[in-house]
């Protein structure tokens, strides 16, 4: 059977766990380039497990293409595991920073939304909002009329709604495998 021609693009959150080695970001992004897929957002840092890095990647693509790319990513030797989620499977947030002109309406917005103020100077104020991408975008629109000098967002980070990180299962499985192989070789 030929692959269905499902051309409808949707948002997906891909989490990738890797060894902490140089060049892995390049390996991952080049696979997206190879498939001609734009990365909407990408964040990376050490995961909860020492020595293991976590990448959170948001793309808007067809499910088939996402599956294909993720398998290619996972195939790289130094990648431990990659998971694909739909937005409703994860709790996802990003941080946005806004550098805005001082204006009484801005101050009102800060109070109304209980935003954090990071810095105030004579002619601008830096505020922080944490939330979903839609929310940080909305605030940007609201601030626009008063002059936004700079605006930056962190890209999304996510935790899964299932209780444990799925990576743990994989690592446990691989540990058992390692022990088995070690026993086999010491018995020989």
């Amino acid at each position: 059977m030929v692959m269905s021609n499902n051309t409808e693009k949707k948002e997906f959150v891909i989490t990738v766990f890797s060894e902490n080695k140089v060049g892995l970001l390049g390996q991952i992004t080049s696979i997206f380039t190879y498939h001609n897929v734009n990365i909407e957002s990408l964040t990376t840092s050490e995961s909860a497990i020492a020595g293991i890095h976590k990448f959170t990647i948001v793309v808007c693509e067809t499910p088939e293409r996402v599956e294909r790319m993720v398998k290619q990513v996972e195939k790289r030797v130094d990648i431990l595991k990659a998971f694909v989620y739909e937005p409703e499977d994860v709790v996802m947030q990003e941080i946005a920073l806004y550098k805005v002109a001082l204006h009484k309406n801005v101050e009102q917005l800060v109070r109304r939304y209980q935003l954090r103020i990071l810095e105030i100077s004579d002619d601008y104020i830096v505020i922080e909002k944490t939330g979903h991408k839609n929310e940080t975008a909305e605030l940007f629109e609201e601030l626009k009329p008063y002059g936004v000098y700079q605006f930056v967002r962190s890209g999304s980070i996510a935790v899964v709604k299932s209780r444990r990180e799925l990576l743990d299962e994989y690592l446990e499985h691989m540990n058992q495998l390692r022990e088995r192989l070690e026993n086999e070789s010491s018995n020989n």
Partner: protein
């Protein structure tokens, strides 16, 4: 047996190669790899170094060696241009799943990133055409990195590994503590067979009326040729082979149909629509096999036995995927299926192939008039070697003809660039193929265009006395491109006409035996002369200039529209 003795990194690398059982390396020296070569001088009693004439040749030779021997092919080159010259071969090995390790020199750590002389970011450059790549920055890393390199290259779905070996690491002193590896936590070389998947596949096979097996190189890589035969005999399923799957099944197997794909056999293509089940065995539905993918397997369910999860559902959706190494999954599947015969279906397929025989093959193999045809040369050579030589090809019409008409009796008998279609692959690959299996005869079919791409390797033959028989099917054209120009570009032969060197002089310059055949009646004697000759031989055959490879599925067409004839 790790000696407590200090050695240079260069020597440690050689020790590693020796302990990995590497007996031959293909290389080319230069500044960035000189400390290694200095140590190699002391290792020539244990490791044979073949000095190729270009680094591209080093990689293709290593590929040829790997393909016939089933072992990891190794090449060693210098930094910068030496390294970049290996890229084509790495990409070729990546697409064709060939286990090789390329060790390239690199500038010293202190100069990394400074645009030093012959510095190139080779880890970055080779990443996308290798299964794994790593830089050795210090001699102390050699043991660990190389154990990984060999394990990754040969395990699971094999592939190329490139190792960037800094010059300081070659010079530093180290006490080698080498231990081969069989575990990397991020790497599952071969998924464990899942009985549920096997049962589901067996269920589909048992209920199929018109099944067809598609034999890929996965069978060869797993060494599962015997398991394949047992599966076919019990299931009664007819089988075709991909270009790289050739020789995993003997050409005279009663259930064998022929090659799959664009220039494959008629039956496998034309009857694809009638199939109700395709059983893919270690193959990846390359577009040269499926042709227009939206017209492929329209009425068939698909069972896909495959070691690489990324191949499942990549092109063709699998109704019953079976992950794992074919050497394990295929016997389990054979056990789970019922004994069947598909005589009627088999006859239907054989009839289609008979039509191809009448309209195409007879004229290609046994022409009685006109110029010599490529097919009859291939037939004559195959026959002269009792259908048991190793076939190596370059790329082009001669490749498509040779893979169509050469016959195979034993496994690992075909070395060709399938995925990348690299012209210039043939000659160096043939050198490696022969060294990988010295007791077998190696016959290379090459075109006049492709031969000129790596022709300098004739001098490697002169220096190392490798016995390869080279059959040059000379049409004085970039024939394959010319065929497309004739068929699909209105006969406009844009830059495909070749003026060739005098190949006799080229052969003589390299002290290689040579004969040229222009007439049909001289062919048999010339082939006999080649076979009887000691050492390498170049047999040039002037073939019909505008011969076309048929049958053919036109680009964009479905397999069902394969054409047997083309009116000039």
């Amino acid at each position: 047996m790790n000696e407590k003795r200090l050695m240079t990194g260069g020597e440690a690398m050689l020790e590693v190669l020796f302990r990995e059982g590497v007996d031959t390396i293909f290389g080319y020296p230069g500044g960035g790899i000189m400390p290694f070569y200095n140590s190699l001088y002391d290792y020539t009693d244990r490791i044979r170094h073949i000095l190729m004439r270009h680094e591209q040749g080093c990689v293709h030779a290593a590929q040829g060696y790997a393909r016939t021997s089933g072992r990891v092919g190794v090449c060693v080159v210098t930094s910068g241009p030496g390294a970049t010259n290996t890229i084509t071969g790495l990409a070729d090995a990546m697409l064709d799943s060939t286990p090789i390790v390329v060790i390239s020199g690199q500038v010293p750590l202190s100069l990394l990133g400074s645009d030093a002389f012959q510095e190139v970011n080779f880890v970055g450059l080779s990443q996308v055409v290798t299964k794994w790549t790593c830089q050795i920055k210090h001699a102390s890393e050699i043991a660990d990195v190389m154990a990984r390199a060999f394990y990754i290259a040969r395990s699971g779905r094999p592939g190329p590994v490139s190792i960037d070996f800094t010059k300081n690491a070659q010079q530093e002193l180290v006490e080698l503590n080498y231990k081969p590896l069989n575990f990397i936590r991020g790497y599952v070389p071969s998924p464990e067979p899942d009985m549920e998947q096997i049962k589901e596949a067996a269920r589909l096979i048992n209920s199929a009326k018109k099944p067809m097996a598609l034999v890929g190189q996965g069978v060869t890589l797993a060494g599962a040729e015997k398991a394949l035969d047992e599966f076919l005999r019990k299931s009664g399923v007819p089988a075709g082979a991909t270009m790289l799957g050739l020789s995993a099944i003997p050409s005279d197997h009663p259930q064998y149909l022929g090659m799959l794909g664009m220039h494959g056999c008629y039956a496998a293509n034309i009857k694809n629509e009638d199939c109700d089940l395709l059983i893919a065995l270690g193959m990846r539905f390359d577009d040269r096999v499926t042709c227009a993918v939206n017209k492929y397997a329209l009425n068939a369910k698909v069972v896909h036995l495959e070691i690489d999860p990324a191949e499942i559902n990549k092109i063709i959706k699998a109704d019953a995927p079976v992950l794992g190494n074919l050497a394990e999954t295929l016997p389990l599947l054979t056990e789970a299926i019922e004994t069947r015969q598909h005589n009627e279906w088999m006859n239907e397929l054989k009839e289609a192939n008979q039509e191809e025989y009448e309209k195409v093959i007879k004229g290609a193999l046994h022409p009685t008039e006109g110029y010599i045809k490529m097919g009859e040369v291939i037939n004559a050579v195959s026959t002269a070697y009792g259908d048991n030589a190793v076939l190596v090809t370059d790329v082009g019409q001669q490749q498509l003809m040779a893979t169509r008409y050469f016959r195979f009796r034993s496994p690992r008998s075909v070395v060709t660039s399938g995925g990348l279609g690299t012209m210039g692959f043939g000659l160096p690959a043939a050198i490696g193929a022969k060294l990988g299996t010295p007791e077998r005869d190696v016959c290379l079919f090459v075109g006049d265009g492709g031969l000129q791409m790596t022709i300098q390797e004739l001098t490697t033959i002169l220096q190392t006395e490798v016995d390869v028989k080279i059959i040059l099917l000379n049409n004085f054209y970039l024939g394959n491109v010319r065929q497309w120009q004739e068929m699909f570009f209105d006969h406009r032969y844009s830059f495909t006409d070749l003026i060739d060197p005098d190949f006799e002089l080229v052969a003589k310059a390299n002290k290689i035996g040579y004969t040229c055949v222009e007439k049909r009646e001289d062919l048999a004697a010339a082939v006999a002369e080649m076979k009887a000759s000691k050492g390498a031989f170049l047999l040039e055959v002037r073939v019909e200039r505008e011969d076309n490879v048929l049958p053919m599925v036109a680009p964009g067409a479905g397999v069902g529209d394969m054409m047997l004839e083309y009116k000039k």
